[in-house]
Amino acid sequence: MAHLLNTSFVPSSSSLCRKSTLQPAFHISGNKSRTSQVQAKIREILMPALSSTMTEGKIVSWVKSEGDKLSKGESVVVVESDKADMDVETFYDGYLAAIMVDEGGVAAVGSAIAFLAETEDEMAEAKSKANSSSSSSPVAATAESTSSPPPDPQEKIVGRASFAPVAKASVTSGSVVASSTHPASEGGRRIVASPYAKKLAKELKVELGRVTGSGPMGRIVAKDVEAASAAASDVAVVGSASATGVGNAATVPGKNAGIELGSVVPFTTMQGAVSRNMVESLAVPTFRVGYTITTDALDALYKKIKLKGVTMTSLLAKATALALAKHPVVNSSCRDGKSFTYNSSINVAVAVAIDGGLITPIDVYSLSRKWKELVDKARAKQLQPHEYNTGTFTLSNLGMFGVDRFDAILPPGTGAIMAVGASQPTVVASKDGRIGMKNQMQVNVTADHRVIYGADLASFLRTLAKIIEDPKDLTF
């Protein structure tokens, strides 16, 4: 029947539609002119009408991915109508060239949801077609299309620091690259990834071969994929929609829309998680060690590379990671009260005021670029607890507010957190008896004394100070 209706897609079982007369739901709109019908090599896949009352449909899932070969009769997409979910199958052989409405998206009946190319060669053509006509799915309602405020490049990274959702920059330096030691990986030729990691990799389009596993025996687990995804995803988006005026909003809380004075507002899931984490942290015996670091050299470096979009926080994150590589114990944590957990990679989590995301920078430039992306990502979706729970060391910077010193609460499950104050011109006496002006900042590390002892922190801080005072390694 569908064939007669000149449609490429039919619901796999017409009986579901028994309540309504099955309408000629699928049209090929690729070539409307009668003469060229036969040449319709690139077909639009349209949202079918699954019932007489259906005006729009939600894409439950794409059974096939872009680039997949389709053969006649195969299920391509699952569509949810007001009554039921239905598999929609193709009536033509070909390739799924471009998906225009992603899973979870909604499209009006009759609007294009994907392109089908007849041959592999035509896929590129179909793709460009998809891009040019991307506005043709009128109700493509997804969270991405939110109205973000105009970008504010100066403020983009740091924002207001809090201990809330922690965004993480995971820096892997040479000495701590977790080798793929999994016994069955056959020297890296085989990829060992957990089922969820594989699922995520497919979803986030991460190539598992490039991901370093941190799970048992080097297995790739979900958080590795998430980290890799943030790092690997293209930076193209960054330019336009970078982080927003987070800092501004934070500094003028009174102007925050939506807060009704005198009301009691229940925690969101995210805030609930923060609250729980904070209370949990009371069970950990912590102590604090402070250090004053001269930042003249760092400031000079920052001035030089700031135009390239590098931010102070990302420089600090990189410096911290380098120092951590030399002091693995400070990167460890105590999970059960009985043992050290030496983390195979260094994940420097950075506390920010917005929902966090994961980034894995390769160098300090991309670190900063990822950072902007992170903010976008964080705004687009709420993060799952594991996404902000997996840092191994946390960096919290309130320097941009002029705070010169503070102390941080240790996030549960990690070994240490470093509170970074503002770098300020300070009158200092040097060893040779002279008095001079230097920029100095105070850092204050809170650590779990079950695994990290005073001397560990002290030597870590000395290393960090050396790196910051001589920052030539930071840009590699």
């Binding site: 079982s13 009986s15 579901l16 028994r18 309540k19 439950v60 899932s61 299920s75 699952v78 007001d82 009554k83 039921a84 979910d85 598999d87 999994h182 016994p183 069955a184 085989r190 060992v192 957990s194 089922p195 969820y196 594989k198 699922k199 799970g215 048992p216 025996m217 297995r219 687990v221 979900a222 229940p266 899931t269 609930g272 998680a273 729980r276 607890p385």
Partner: protein
């Protein structure tokens, strides 16, 4: 021959032997009718209410056995002479759910009944199967609800992070099993079923040895109900810790980060539901090309979308696990896979644990079947449709029946019980042949899956063969008020039927409480109710049962008029 048989049935002959009361029988039962029986001794000369009934039933047996007299005598002459008098009317080997069901019904029918159990009362279902797994699934269902922020939010609920205590969950399963076990034991003791402890071995016709001692018991009729054990393909080394079967998994001694489940039937599927709810990631290994091969394809497809794809589960299909080595010496569990068709090595998996759920093998070793010339087929005891055991030559073995997993007809606890009841009906004179196509099956995932009768391909094949048309009707849970109120609209009910006469061929449900919903359909099949009649039955509103109501109403019959005369089956 026939005459001598009938003599042996006579209660008069039983006065000759008297045996002292078994001590364990006198376990406190201080009231009720069974008390009389209890002190009658095993021979039960006394004319209790029940023994009168028994006499009556024996008479009927005598009559009915005439139908098969040729075969009976032939078999008897081949196997030596049976005892002249019996300790019991009915002896059941195996106190699982099948044996239990048979025993209760036998007592109701007035048979003096004993049940032999070499392990624990309750068998697989109660101790290592359906029952403890339901406890774990109850936990997993709640965990799922509490973890589904989206779902809770839609209901307006706020719940802080859900957690669980593994030992607490394990204890719940264990406590449930003990409770059901004691209920089962008590229910049999209360009505006077003798529970004989020891391994039952058939020595000859109507003669069973219990335990290793010289405790030999005779019975007029014997039912083998020895059940099954997890089937472990060769090459797989089960250590009970990292490579486990359902027996171990139900104890929930650990919740591994990553567990491979070999076999994606209902056992594997249920465990995947439990493990993923408790935080594990799961890899299915399935020899066939499709996951959940036993299900109706459409239900299987939906199940995959609802129960597999959104969860932390991946799978390998069309592969055999040829070798599974438990974790040791710091190495993980290693699973070697070969292609099911080409037999070429395909992949190696390393996981934290492996659950072998490749089905179940009959437990019929050392049962003494050689003594009566019965040869098992892949371990299963061959039976006819009346559950009568067939010997190596294909002849009926008189007075010997086999029910449940041991005969392999339908490896479900309630099927075993139904078979047992049908056997008791037969030995008491009513020829009841169980209609297996009316026996429902359920998989207690979240949501549940249930089915009765034929799948769509089976029905279409049958229709082709026998020349009738097959139609399919479907309804979605999305259109059901109660399901939507629960915010559980995911689900499908599917009816496979004959449009010409309204016969229900099969019903398959995936959705909230599907396991409870199926019985309307299975009862209809069992009683031969047609769609044109059942569609007028009234269902309370709003209930999930309206899913089936709508399903029946949506069937399109050729002639809508209800046929006044019942159609012969």
């Amino acid at each position: 021959m026939q005459a001598s048989l009938s003599v042996s049935f006579s209660p008069n002959s039983s006065t000759t032997i008297s045996r002292s009361h078994n001590t364990f029988q006198s376990i406190p039962f201080s009231h009720g009718k069974p008390l009389n029986l209890r002190f009658c001794g095993l021979r039960r000369e006394a004319l209790g209410f029940t023994s009168l009934k028994r006499h009556d039933s024996n008479y009927r047996v005598h009559i009915s056995s005439g139908r098969h007299s040729n075969k009976v005598s032939a078999a008897l002459s081949a196997n030596g002479s049976p005892p002249k008098s019996f300790d019991y009317d009915l002896l059941i080997i195996g106190a699982g759910v099948g044996g239990h069901g048979a025993a209760l019904h036998a007592v109701e029918k007035g048979l003096k009944t004993a049940i032999v159990e070499g392990d624990v009362v309750g068998g697989t279902c109660v101790n290592r199967g359906c029952v403890p797994s339901k406890a774990l699934l109850a936990v997993s269902g709640r965990m799922r609800e509490l973890q589904s922020e989206h779902h809770l939010k839609a209901l307006g609920l706020q719940v802080s992070a859900a957690g669980y205590d593994r030992q607490g969950v394990a204890d719940h399963a264990n406590n449930l099993a003990s409770k059901i076990r004691s209920n089962l034991t008590n229910s049999m003791k209360a009505i006077g079923v003798d529970i004989l402890t020891g391994f039952g071995t058939i020595l000859g016709p109507q003669k069973v040895q219990v335990g290793s001692s010289n405790n030999i018991v005779t019975a007029k009729d014997i039912i083998i109900a020895t059940g099954s054990i997890p089937f472990v393909p060769k090459g797989i080394e089960v250590d009970g810790k990292t490579v486990i079967t359902s027996d171990h998994a139900l104890k929930l001694e650990s919740v591994p980060d990553w567990i491979a489940i070999v076999g994606s039937g209902y056992i594997g599927l249920e465990f995947s539901d439990v493990y993923t709810a408790l935080g594990s990631e799961v890899t299915f290994i399935e020899a066939l090309d499709q996951l959940m091969p036993g299900f109706d394809p459409e239900i299987g497809k939906l199940a995959q979308r609802v129960l597999i794809n959104p969860r932390k589960i991946d799978y390998h299909t069309g592969v055999f696990a040829t070798k599974i080595t438990p974790a040791r010496d710091g190495k993980p569990v290693i699973i070697e896979l070969i292609d099911a068709k080409t037999k070429e090595p395909k992949d190696t998996l390393e996981v934290d644990a492996a659950l072998i759920a490749t089905g179940r093998a009959p437990f019929t070793n050392d049962l003494g079947l050689d003594n009566i010339n019965v040869a098992t087929q892949r371990g299963f005891v061959p039976v006819d449709k009346r559950m009568r055991v067939l010997d190596a030559a294909g002849n009926l073995v008189p007075h010997l029946y086999c029910i449940g997993d041991a005969n392999g007809k339908m490896m479900l606890a309630h099927a075993a019980s139904a078979q047992g009841i049908s056997v008791v009906e037969q030995v008491t004179g009513r020829d009841l042949v169980l209609n297996h196509s009316s026996i429902p099956a359920a998989c207690f995932t979240h949501p549940e899956i249930s089915m009765v009768g034929l799948t769509e391909p089976q029905a279409r094949e049958k229709g082709e063969r026998e020349g009738f048309e097959v139609s399919v009707a479907k309804t979605s849970f999305k259109a059901n008020t109660k399901a939507l109120a629960e915010n559980e609209g995911e689900g499908l009910a599917k009816l496979i039927y004959r449009p010409d006469n309204g016969e229900i061929l099969g019903v398959h449900i995936l959705g909230l409480h599907a396991a409870d919903l199926i019985h309307e359909a299975s009862n209809a099949i069992a009683l031969g109710t047609r769609i044109q009649d059942i569609k007028f039955a009234v269902h309370a509103h709003p209930t999930l049962s309206e899913v089936l109501d709508e399903l029946f109403k949506s069937a399109k019959l050729k002639s809508q008029a209800s046929s006044p005369e019942p159609v012969a089956v």
